[in-house]
Homo-oligomer: 340 residues x 3
């Protein structure tokens, strides 16, 4: 693919500096881009890389216009990272072949399922009785869409996605391979030393524009529904327990676990491996550092952290051993203070 800078400037609403007929044929990072590639500068701390890049063209903000001009062609955009995102979207659209609408001959569609005429159902997929597949939706190979489940218009399920009976996925969503929506929440009552199952009678409701990473799980609610609001983004191997509510535009990175009945606000983020315990509330605009264990509610926006600082093993061993006596150290300190 070759594309003229003038066309890209128009596409991105950016100001072009340089030859409008110059072409680029790939997108690269500042480090790896060659003269046929376009790159971008999203953060000032990469300025050194801007100066040394071989990229044929760079997308920059107004604040870096001078530095960019000094080295060659540039597109000046109001938000260069957003312009880069839009460029990748346009690029992907050119490169990828569109799905062929229709139901693959090897798919199994139960009676009473509704599939929009322009939707795609891939090879070896299964669509249950009463399921609804919206306009332009794409159901990947080997997907399971359970009875009475609903997949919104324009939503894409990659290969091997499970959407269980009665679960609802909104529009323009993207569920990656191995995602499981609507497995039973983890609920049992103790009964004479054994566990009695609490059947999970709720469902899962997923809003519009939600993306869920590979092998992530969203359990159905016990009585009410588990809910992901619009624009939520989950990375891979994320666990969402029953009755959880994740607020709009919240993004959770890989390996995050959210235990049952937690309510996570809107516009929150959590770094990889964070654990959010159950039956607590996190307000909007809370940012949780990777590997933090959130063990009680958070009522104020802000950044919260809780990882143990790693160290070479010998130092860690000494500090960890001392940590187990920390409370008594405090008492000894108090005693000394009283003496003085």
């Amino acid at each position: 693919m070759h594309v003229r800078l003038a066309d890209l400037a128009k596409l991105l609403g950016a100001e072009l500096i340089g030859d409008p007929d110059l072409c680029v044929s790939s997108i690269g990072t500042l480090e790896t881009a060659d003269p046929n590639a376009i790159s971008f500068l999203a953060q000032a701390r990469y300025l050194a890389a801007l100066r040394s890049t071989s990229a044929g063209c760079v997308i920059v903000g107004a604040v870096h216009r001078e530095e960019a001009m000094a080295r060659g062609a540039a597109l000046v955009a109001a938000d260069p990272y957003l312009a880069f995102a839009k460029l990748t979207q346009w690029w992907a659209k050119q490169g990828r072949s569109a799905s062929v609408a229709g139901v693959h001959r090897s798919a199994v569609v139960e009676e009473g399922a509704f599939i929009a005429p322009d939707a795609t159902v891939g090879a070896l997929a299964y669509i249950g009785r009463g399921a609804r597949i919206g306009a332009g939706a794409v159901i990947g190979t080997h997907c399971h869409v359970g009875g009475d489940a609903s997949i919104g218009a324009g939503t894409v399920l990659k290969a091997h996605v499970t959407v269980s009976d009665g679960c609802l996925v909104g529009q323009r969503g993207l569920l990656h391979s191995g995602v499981v929506i609507g497995a039973d929440g983890f609920g049992f009552a103790p009964n004479a030393g054994a566990w009695e199952k609490i059947e999970q009678l709720g469902s899962v409701r997923i809003g519009n524009d939600v993306e869920i990473g590979a092998n992530s799980c969203v359990d159905r609610g016990a009585l009410d529904d588990t809910v992901l609001e619009d624009g939520v983004k989950l990375d891979n191997l994320v666990q969402i327990g029953h009755n959880v509510r994740v607020g709009a535009h919240t993004a959770l990175a890989g390996c995050v676990g959210v235990a049952g009945s937690a309510r996570v606000g809107r516009h929150c983020t959590a770094g990889g491996g964070a654990i959010i315990l159950g039956h607590l509330v996190i307000v909007d605009h809370v940012h949780i550092t990777a590997a933090t264990v959130v063990s009680r509610s958070i009522h104020k926006p802000g950044q919260y952290s809780g990882a143990f600082p790693f160290d070479d093993n010998a130092s860690w061993e000494k500090n960890a051993a001392t940590l187990r006596q920390l409370h008594s150290l405090r008492d000894r300190l108090r005693a000394l203070e009283k003496k003085n």
Copy 2:
């Protein structure tokens, strides 16, 4: 569905207070239940919600009989949480259509597999040579049951479950979508800077009444088998390494990892994200708090914890930095003590 309170009282062996002909049509929490719903009070700390609920009927223990009567109809049960569990089981049975026995035309069944006449094999499932599917078992769509594997009577595999060659699953089990039983344990011998595979010659044996959550994994043993005893409950995204033994009626929450050759006792629990290291022993009735790293054997029943307490980021940073000098702080404290 409409059900008379008199019928529910009989079903649950509970004492009915109120009009026996009153009907309910749903189950709700105290907060969300409307006058057509039945709810329950399992813990005294929700007493305020009992007083304000709109539920048509509530299940309570004898100790809360007065409070319940004061507000309307009630079912008084010996163990109200257990009664609620049984109610959900009955409710689910009414609402869900039974599986149709037989092998779906799109399933692939190898020669020499045995499938009980009243078992169900779903669409696009695969049953290997010599596999045995017990009476009334349900094999979901896209499941893989490997050669010589065995699925016990009444066990349900939801969509996309893998039970590898030679692995045994007991009776009345429930394996959720994406579960992988019997992948190779992680075993390698170092060989001149590379890794030489240790073939995993053991299998997996799963007892009766075991439930395993979505995308969880139980690896086959290296030489002996990996074992989950009767009544074990695993949540989603749980990892059970090779040669692990999990004792009867132990429950492990989401994202828990148990490393190879660990032996976890009976009637234990572990909260979400806990990590149990390998080659250690945990006795019966041990309860591990979420996100705890169990790095040595536990020989006494009780509750064990080990998460770093999270904090606002600025406070955490200061405390974490100091933690890296903790051992020297202790030495300085000692020095002061000697002076005094």
Copy 3:
């Protein structure tokens, strides 16, 4: 299976002590082996078990030749653990039936896919347009090999593996059930409170002799590729973010997460549940203890740790509460020191 010790000695290049015609029919640990089994001693700390084992034969190193002879038949090998690994490989080969080459009648193969004549494509598998399946490769049931993806000679995909469009897997690899190669990396640009998708235009390149455990994920790169070099071993439920590079012969245990753009060196190991943050570099020969959070680059080989030491709940509570005041304790200690 019965095998003569003389034949095993030849196979393993080991010196036989004892009757060459003695046969064994299984492999066991020192604890569980019976007189028909062969076992091994890999570490001196199991010497007591060597003395008490009922095994018919034991594999030992030269250093333990005397102890082994004192109890019966033995194979003396240069590296007994490596000899044991090779023995398991030979044993597995005898016991397992070879895959039948060819494409199962229920598989779906798109036009323009190339499948080597001696490769195997299992039941209900899907092979996309332009995909290449190398000589002797085995594609398990329900696998998805996307368009233009490539599976190297001799590589085995167990049931339910997804290799997305354009991703490359080398030779002699082993991908366990539920593995997802090439889902989108987690990349979004903020846009007026919502998230704008950054299309992931890179791919995944996996070297030779790589093993990946059940339900693990390796995301495609944003612009460049995500790379696993030769001989990498990943356990179950491991997450590899976009643009990560994992160096040759590095092994990551279960539930490890590696965030985007991290570069992990060669010959490294990480214990279960470790989290490696993004955009950092770890040099060769670094060993990370289980559950450690690696939050900055590691420039020196060695062992690094960072788990919170667990304790009985009451002790943990006191120490954790004090930890939240650690910085002020340090200040108080300083104040005391000044006074003295």
